[in-house]
Each structure stands twice: as C-alpha cells, then as structure tokens.
C-alpha cells in the first residue's frame, strides 16, 4: 500500500536507499507526521498500525522461526516545520527468528518538531534482532528526538542496535534504552552522534545482564562542537555467573562544547565481569598534525578525524 507516492519518494530521497520500495521482497513502513503513507509486508511478518493522538501505534510481530533476509525499511519523518510525531511501538519477535531493520528518521525542515518514540520490544529465545536508526535533521536544529525503549532479550537471543545522527543539527536528543538479557543473550548498543551549536545530547542506556553467560557492549561515540553539550549515562549490571560486558564512551570536544560521561558498572556475582573506558578530549594532536603535515587545513583535518571516529 502506498498512499502518497510523491511524499514517500520525497522522504526516501533523503536516504541512501530510495529504490527499496519497488522490491516486493522488502518489507517497509513509511509514516509521515501522524499518517501511514506506505506499508508493505512479507510472509511471517505482521505489521499493523492504529492512529493515535499526534501519531501512530505500530505493532510488529515476527512469527516463530521466520528468517527475513532482506532488511526491513522503516521511515519516520515529517516535512512541516512544526509538529509532533509520536510512534508507539510494540515489537514481538518470535523464537528462532531473524530480522534486521533500518529506520530512517527524516526531519529536514524542522523548526519545532518533536519525534517521540516509545518502544516495547520482546525478543524470543534464539532470535536475532538488528536495528539501525539513521537520522537526517534540518540544519536549523529545531528537532527534539526522544526515543525510549524497553527491551527483553530471551535466552540465546541477540539485540544489536546502532543509532546514527551525524547529518544536520541534532537539536535535542534524549535516548533512554533499557535492556534485560537472559541466559546467553547478547546486547550491543552503539550510538554515533555529532552535535554543533547549542545541540543537546543525552544518552541513558542500561543493560541488565541477568542470565548466565549474558554479554553486553554499550558504546557511545560522540563529537560536540560550538556550544553543544553531551551527557552520557551508561549503566551495566551483571548478576549472573560468567555474564560479561563493556561500557565504552569516546567523546571529541571542540570549541566551547562540554561532554560528560558517567558510566555505572555494577557486578552482583563474583563470576561476572564488566569493564568500562571513557576517553573525552579534543582531537588528538598527533593525528591532527599528521594530516596537517600532508597539507590539510586544521579545520579539514578535525572534520576528517571526527568523521573517522564516528564511522
């Protein structure tokens, strides 16, 4: 179903995958503001949507044992300068299944836009769930992105997410993800965000490694310039034998920007192990001078180093 082809095309025109919608084996869901404008599913995957105030409720169910080889495309966006987009998601991933999703969040003209995501995700035993979210924002910074998720990861299951916001201004982003890992389960969350001007970045990610042998990695790579601020509160707790994890935060700070990292690691079992590492500072001088010694200007060199760090 494509309700407004032109609008869908325009939204996807901001992404690197404008062609996918023509493929019958690729599932997709496109929401513009508070309206579903395109949707297509594939066998074993049920997507249904309901209109709610300022947004859409989305229920995704992946049946047991279903493996969806082609990445599923989600596109949430809006073109108007002002408005609220609220997405309430319920995701139920059946046992032994596999799905990989690519979500584009497109707000190219935002002056005062709020994108609120509230997700509840359950990943069944042995299932694998991958979620990559890419944001394209206006250069004016008028976006508030408030994603919240609660994720239960079953035995032997995997949850891997990547959040990327490196184009346009951040505006305000306030991520709050909570994950609970069962026995042998894996959680990996990576955020790559670049802030300028008076952008504000807040990340609160937690991973509770509750099952035996559960594994977790929380990684944040942040660059802040101008007067931007970043606060990263990552928390990992391990309460079962052989649970192990790592919390990693890299932040490059330029100009008058401020970055804070507050990792919390908590171990409740003598056979569990968690490490953390935080590196916050300006661009490394040797890296900078290496590029400058090949003829690059300081600004270009800083950009290239940050681009690398965020990649």
């Amino acid at each position: 179903m494509i309700k407004d082809k032109q609008l869908v095309d325009e939204l996807y025109g901001n992404t690197e995958s404008p062609h996918v919608l023509k493929d019958p084996d690729t599932a997709h869901l496109t929401i513009h503001h508070d309206e579903v404008i395109g949707m297509h599913s594939v066998p074993g995957l049920n997507i249904d949507t309901n209109k709610i105030e300022d947004g859409i409720e989305v229920n995704v169910k992946l049946n047991k044992g279903v493996r969806i080889d082609k990445q599923v495309h989600l596109c949430f966006g809006m073109f108007p300068e002002k408005g609220i987009q609220k997405i309430v998601m319920d995701v139920d991933i059946g046992t032994n299944s596999y799905i990989s999703l690519l979500a584009h969040c497109i707000f190219p003209f935002a002056v005062d836009v709020q994108h609120i995501m509230d997700a509840n995700i359950r990943i069944g035993e042995n299932a694998k769930y991958k979620y990559l979210e890419k944001h394209v924002h206006s250069p004016r910074g008028g976006v508030k992105v408030i994603p919240k998720a609660k994720v239960n990861i079953g035995r032997n299951a995997e949850f891997k997410t990547e959040f990327e916001l490196v184009k346009g201004r951040v505006g305000l982003i306030d991520i709050d993800y909570e994950t609970f890992c069962g026995e042998n389960a894996v959680v990996e969350m990576l955020a790559r965000i670049s802030g300028h001007d008076d952008d504000e970045i807040k990340i609160r990610e937690s991973a509770y490694l509750e099952g035996k042998n559960a594994r977790g990695a929380l990684t944040s790579k942040i660059a802040v310039r101008g007067r931007a601020r970043a606060e990263i509160y990552n928390k990992m707790t391990a309460s079962a034998p052989f649970a192990r994890g790592h919390v990693d935060c890299k932040e490059i700070v330029q100009d008058d920007a401020v970055a804070t990292a507050i990792p919390i690691v908590e171990v409740h079992h003598p056979k569990a192990h968690i490490t953390h590492e935080a590196a916050i500072g300006s661009v490394d001088n040797k890296q900078l001078e290496t590029l400058m010694s090949r003829g690059m200007s300081e600004d270009d060199a800083v950009d290239l180093i940050i681009e690398g760090m965020l990649s």
Binding site: K286, Q287, E289, S293
Partner: protein, 247 residues
C-alpha cells in the same frame, strides 16, 4: 643548491636548549641522512623544520627556497612542500587507509591509492578499506605513512627512523619508496641511528648534543658507527655500548 638552509638555529623545550646554534644546508633533490645517538636532537630538528606545535618558537633562521619559515604553521609549510613522517605514526580510529591516503593528495584520483600502496609493498585490495587503527602492525602503519607521503609528492620529506619496527624484507620496500621520492625530485632527509639507513643516503650529517658536528660522505660519517666519534665538547658523548647496539 640548498632547498633548506638553517642558520644558528636554537630551540628550547621546557626551558632547556635542545638545539643550540645549529647550522646546516640540505641540497635539493638529494637523499640526506642525519645520524646520531639517542637524545642527540634529531627528532627535535625534524619537528622544528616541519613546524610541529611546540617547535615553532626558534631562534636563528630556517629558510626554505630562500623563504623564512618563521611564524609559518605546519600546514602552510606542508602546502609549500615540507612533510614529516613520525617515528611512531598516529593511529586513526575509523579512518580508512584509502581516505587517509587521499587526504594527502591534491588530486582526487583513487588509482593513486592503489599505486602508492603497491609502491610500499602492500596489497591494495587487502588494505584500502581497513582503518589506520590499532589493528595494523607497527611495520604496516609505517608503510602506510610512507604511502601517504608518496601520494603527497612533497618537495622535502623528513622521515624519522624509517626502519623502526620494519622487518628486513620490508626494509627494502621502504628504500624503494625513498628511491621513488628521489626520482620525483623530492629532497629526502632520513633521521636515523641505523647504519642500514645511513648507507642508503648520498650525504650524511652527524648530530650530537643538539648540534651538527660533522658532515660528508657516507663512508666518512659511518666511521662514527665504527666507534670513531669526532671528538667534541658535547655532553651526551655516545658511549660505545650504545653505538654497537645500533649497528
């Protein structure tokens, strides 16, 4: 003709003169070696010519093609053709070898990346898309540094200890890269305390305690390695053990 002329160069680091009233000329298009024991000030001299931060506040004069380098930043000097390869090159997380090499070149030509990687003996297919990060061995990292310098086509290349961390077979590739630079007309300044590297130069300078204390043919300067350091009143008199170790 001298492409770099240094007159009465004095440079202090943390209040201590590391280079004191040094005079030297590097002729254009030649491969020079600056040799000397650890702590002689070789890297400091290279950093001062390249214009690294912390090394720009010197007394005396450094002229490049007759023009003073005083007050000129590292990138301005690089755009005029002076570059430096560090003894321990920097690592860049997430930056591909391809982007790193392209950043050095003025041409936007991908085939150049293939060529310069080949020149230093690395298989471009295997390396292009890898990152210039901690997953590279020290030797691989040095070769990539040299590849980026080949891509830049500088007029003066200062190579600080180009053989450190390089195995014997790879060393030959490093020397071939030096030959390519020379063929392109680049003036190469090899900073070294190794006899193998010294032997590849056409002209050598002996540095000790912040000064150039002798210069001449490779034969003449390599005598230093045979334990005949020119007598002088320097403080860091190289001891025999150290000289033996470096040979």
């Amino acid at each position: 003709m001298a492409i770099i002329e240094i007159e009465n160069l004095t440079l202090a680091l943390n209040g201590k003169n590391i280079i004191a009233k040094l005079n030297v000329e590097f002729w254009e298009g030649h491969v020079h070696a600056v040799v000397g024991p650890n702590g002689a000030g070789k890297s400091t001299l290279a950093s001062t010519i390249a214009g690294l931060s912390g090394y720009t506040d010197f007394e005396g004069e450094i002229r490049y093609n007759g023009e003073s380098l005083k007050g000129m930043n590292i990138d301005e000097r690089a755009r005029k053709g002076i570059t430096l390869a560090w003894q321990e090159p920097a690592r860049f997380e997430g930056l591909s070898i391809k982007s790193f090499i392209m950043a050095s070149s003025r041409e936007n030509d991908e085939s150049l990346v293939l060529r310069v990687l080949d020149d230093v003996g690395l298989d471009a297919e295997d390396y292009m898309h890898r990152s210039v990060d901690r997953t590279l061995s020290g030797g691989e990292r040095k070769k990539i540094e040299l590849a980026s310098i080949l891509a830049m086509r500088p007029r003066v290349a200062l190579l600080d200890e180009p053989d450190s961390g390089i195995d014997v077979e790879s060393l030959e590739r490093i020397f071939e890269a030096v030959d390519i630079l020379k063929r392109d007309g680049t003036t190469v300044i090899l900073i070294t305390h190794s006899l193998a590297v010294l032997n590849r130069a056409e002209h050598a300078f002996l540095m000790c305690d912040g000064n150039i204390i002798d210069k001449g043919t490779i034969d003449k300067i390599s005598k230093y390695f045979e334990d005949r350091c020119i007598p002088c009143d320097h403080k860091n008199m190289p001891n025999k053990a150290e000289i033996k170790e470096t040979v």
